[in-house]
Symmetry: C2
Subunit: 398 residues, 2 copies
C-alpha cells in the first residue's frame, strides 16, 4: 500500500457530536495504517496560515473517550468561503497540503463546508493533483440533502425537548394566565424547532403552537390563536424557529439582530422577543420570551449517546471510503427498516450549498403542530430501541 497521510478540518457552527466524528476519523485512520494524522486548526482558514497539529497523541483510549464526549470543536472552526475564481487561495491550500505530503483530506461541516470540499476536489481534478477530499456532515440544522439525518441533530433535539418540558413545568406553577415563547435555532429549516413536538406528558402535547420557517408567519393569525387558546387553558407554550418569515419573505426577527457571515448567511435572533412585544399589545397576561441561544447546540451534558456512537461511525465510514480511493464525495445516510441507519456515498456536488427543508407534509398547518410522521422519523435517531426517553416528571391532576 502507498503511504497514506491525512488531515482533518472542522468548520461551521459547533455541535455536541462533531468531535465524536473527529474521533471516528482518527481511530479508523490509525487502524488503516495512516502514517500521519493532522488536524487543521480553525479549518481551512487556519490551514492557509499553516496552523495545524499532530493528532497521533490523541490516540489513547482515554483521550478518544474524552474527545467523543467533548462538545464544540476540538480543532476550532472557521466560516471561510473560497471564491470560485480565487485560484491563488486554492493553490496555497494545495501547496500547504503537498508540503506535508497529505493524501487525504477529511472536512467535517455543514452546507457551506461542503462547498469548500467541492471546490477543492474540483481543483484537484483540474490540476491533476492526487489529493482526495471527503466531506462529512455535521449541523444541528439537519438540513443537508442526501442524508436521512445529520449527527449532532439528535442531541440538539434531546436538549430542546428536555428544556421545553422543564420550561412548561416552570410556567405551569403560577396562577393566572401566561404565554411563554421559546426561540429555537434553524436559519432556513425548521428541523430543530420541530423537536418541540416531542414534548408530551401522559399523552398531552405540552407545546401548543410550533412555527417553522417552512410556513409563512402571519402575526394576526398567531395573536388570534393565542387568544383562543387562552380561553381553554391557563399556560400557553409556543416554539418558534429563529428563521420564521412573513408572506413577503421578510424575517420576523427585529432587524437589529441581523449579522451576515462570509457566505451571505444571516444569523439572527430576537423573533421570540418580537412576538412577545406584539402579543403584549393584544392580550393581558404574563408573556415571557426565551432564547435557547448557543446552549442548544453545545450542551454536552445532554448529548445523546446513540447520536455520539453514530457520529463516530460516520467518521469511520469516511475513512473506509478513503481506503476505496474515493474523492469529491460526501458521507450521506439512509434508514433501512432491517439494518437501521446506513451511511452512503454521495457526490459532493449533490449536497453543497443546498438546503433540505422540513417536509411540508409533516406540518399540520391547521393546528400549527407537527404530525406523527416526524415522531416516527426521529424515533430511530434518539436510541437503539427506537424509544424517545425524556425525564418523567410528576404532574398534579387538576
Amino acid at each position: 500500500m502507498d503511504r497514506r497521510r491525512c488531515i482533518i478540518g472542522q468548520s461551521g457552527g459547533p455541535t455536541v457530536a462533531i468531535n465524536a466524528t473527529l474521533a471516528g476519523v482518527i481511530k479508523a485512520a490509525r487502524q488503516n495504517g495512516f502514517d500521519a494524522i493532522y488536524g487543521m486548526v480553525n479549518g481551512i482558514q487556519g490551514f492557509l496560515e499553516n496552523q495545524m497539529i499532530d493528532l497521533i497523541p490523541l490516540c489513547t483510549e482515554e483521550k478518544m473517550e474524552q474527545l467523543i464526549h467533548t462538545p464544540a470543536m476540538y480543532l476550532g472552526s472557521c466560516r471561510f468561503k473560497i471564491a470560485d475564481n480565487d485560484v491563488e487561495t486554492k493553490n496555497k491550500i494545495f501547496e500547504n497540503l503537498e508540503r506535508i505530503h497529505i493524501t487525504d483530506v477529511f472536512y467535517i461541516g455543514g452546507n457551506d463546508s461542503m462547498d469548500t470540499v467541492q471546490k477543492l476536489s474540483a481543483h484537484a481534478a483540474v490540476t491533476g493533483s492526487p489529493i482526495r477530499f471527503i466531506g462529512i456532515p455535521k449541523t444541528i440544522d439537519n438540513d443537508l440533502e442526501h442524508a436521512y439525518y445529520i449527527p449532532g441533530y439528535p442531541s440538539a433535539c434531546q436538549y430542546v425537548a428536555t428544556t421545553m418540558l422543564e420550561i412548561a413545568h416552570d410556567a405551569a406553577i403560577y396562577p393566572g394566565h401566561s404565554v411563554t415563547i421559546v426561540e429555537i435555532m434553524g436559519r432556513d429549516a425548521g428541523w430543530l424547532a420541530a423537536s418541540a413536538s416531542l414534548v408530551n406528558q401522559d399523552g398531552d402535547q405540552m407545546v401548543d403552537l410550533i412555527y417553522l420557517p417552512e410556513v409563512s408567519f402571519h402575526m394576526e393569525d398567531f395573536i388570534s390563536r393565542v387568544k383562543t387558546l387562552l380561553l381553554e387553558k391557563q399556560h400557553i407554550i409556543v416554539a418558534v424557529s429563529e428563521g420564521i418569515r412573513d408572506n413577503a419573505g421578510q424575517y420576523i426577527a427585529s432587524p437589529t439582530g441581523y449579522v451576515k457571515d462570509a457566505f451571505g448567511n444571516c444569523s439572527r435572533s430576537g423573533c421570540a422577543a418580537q412576538l412577545k412585544q406584539r402579543l403584549e399589545t393584544a392580550v393581558n397576561c404574563k408573556i415571557r420570551s426565551i432564547e435557547l441561544n448557543v446552549l442548544q447546540r453545545n450542551a454536552g451534558h445532554l448529548a445523546n449517546e446513540y447520536d455520539l456512537q453514530n457520529a463516530v461511525r460516520i467518521g469511520e465510514t469516511a475513512v473506509q471510503y478513503a481506503m476505496e480511493l474515493e474523492t469529491g464525495i460526501f458521507v450521506g445516510s439512509r434508514y433501512d427498516a432491517e439494518y437501521g441507519l446506513l451511511f452512503t456515498k454521495e457526490n459532493i456536488s449533490e449536497v453543497s450549498n443546498k438546503v433540505r427543508a422540513f417536509p411540508g407534509e409533516w406540518i399540520d398547518r391547521d393546528q400549527c403542530q407537527i404530525k406523527n410522521d416526524y415522531i416516527d422519523y426521529v424515533r430511530v435517531l434518539l436510541a437503539e430501541d427506537g424509544m424517545i426517553h425524556l425525564p418523567e416528571y410528576l404532574r398534579r391532576e387538576s
Copy 2:
C-alpha cells in the same frame, strides 16, 4: 397522641429541589402518624379559595421518587402578600384551616413566603389558635439569613457552572476575538452568579470577569477591563448578575425589563444585553449576550442528587420540629466540620423579609473574581465527598 392533620404549601419561584422538600414533609408526616396530609394548590392564594388536594395518594415509593426528581412546584405557587392590617384575609385562612381540622401548616418558600409564615403564626398567637406554622426555605438565590445554604441553590450552581463551561467551549472555536456576556439570576444577592467561578479547566479560570450586585458596577471600568483582556486572550467570558447596579443604586438592566410583583420586588432582565450594546460602541469584535433565563432554576435534568437528598432531609426535619410542637419557626442550617450539614431551628421573625448578601470578603474586587473561600463553602453543598464534579471536556493545547 392528639390527632395531627397537616397542610403543605409552596410559594415563590421554582427550584429543582422544592418538590424533594415536599416529599420529605409528606414522608415524615406519614411516618409520624398524621391522619391527613393536604396540599394547598397555588399556596396561600389558592387556599383562600379552598383549592387543595389530598397528598396521601402520593405515598407510594414510586411516586415519592418521581416527586423528588420533578422540578418546579407540584402544588403550584403564588406571590401573594398578606397586608399587616388585613385581618379579614387572615381570618379567612384560619377558617379554612379549621374547617378541615388542620393542626400544622408547612410552608416552603423564600424570603417573602417566610413573611406569610410569620404573619400567620403571629395571628395564631394573638387569637389563641392552636394551629402551628413552620417555614421551610427554598430559593436558588441562597439569600436567607440563618441558613448555611438553601436547598435548590446547589443544583442551580451545577447548572450555571456546567452551562458556562459549555458556553466557553462554544465561544472558543472561532478565530478572531469575542466577548460573551452571560446574565445569571439573583435580584439582590450574587450567590448564583458567583458559581460561575466554579468553572475552571486544567487550573485555568474559564470565566474572566464576574459581577455581583454586592459591588456597584462602573460601565467605563468594565469596558476598560474588557479592552485589556482582549490584548491578552482571544475569547472573553463575562458572568453578570441580573441585579447589578451603578454607584447611584440604579439598575444597569434596561427599564423595559422591569416588572413589580406583589411584594414590590422587581424582576428584571436585559442587563447582559445592555452591556453588549455599550461594549459594541467601544470594542470591535464579536459580542454575544446570553440570558440563562428560567432554565437555571428549573433544569431537573441537571439536578444535583446530594442537593435533592438534603432537600428531602430538610422537609423531614420540619416535621420533626412539628412533633416537638414548635410554631413560628424556620428550618435553618449550619455546617459542622465533623457532622456536615445540620438543620437548625430558627425564629421566623429572624429571617422573613431579610436578604443575606454574598459575603464582601469573598469578592476579589481588583480582579472582578470570586475568592477561594467561596469554593470551600460550596464544595460541601455539591457532593458528599466535597468534590465539585463538572464534565471534563478535552481542550486543545495551543
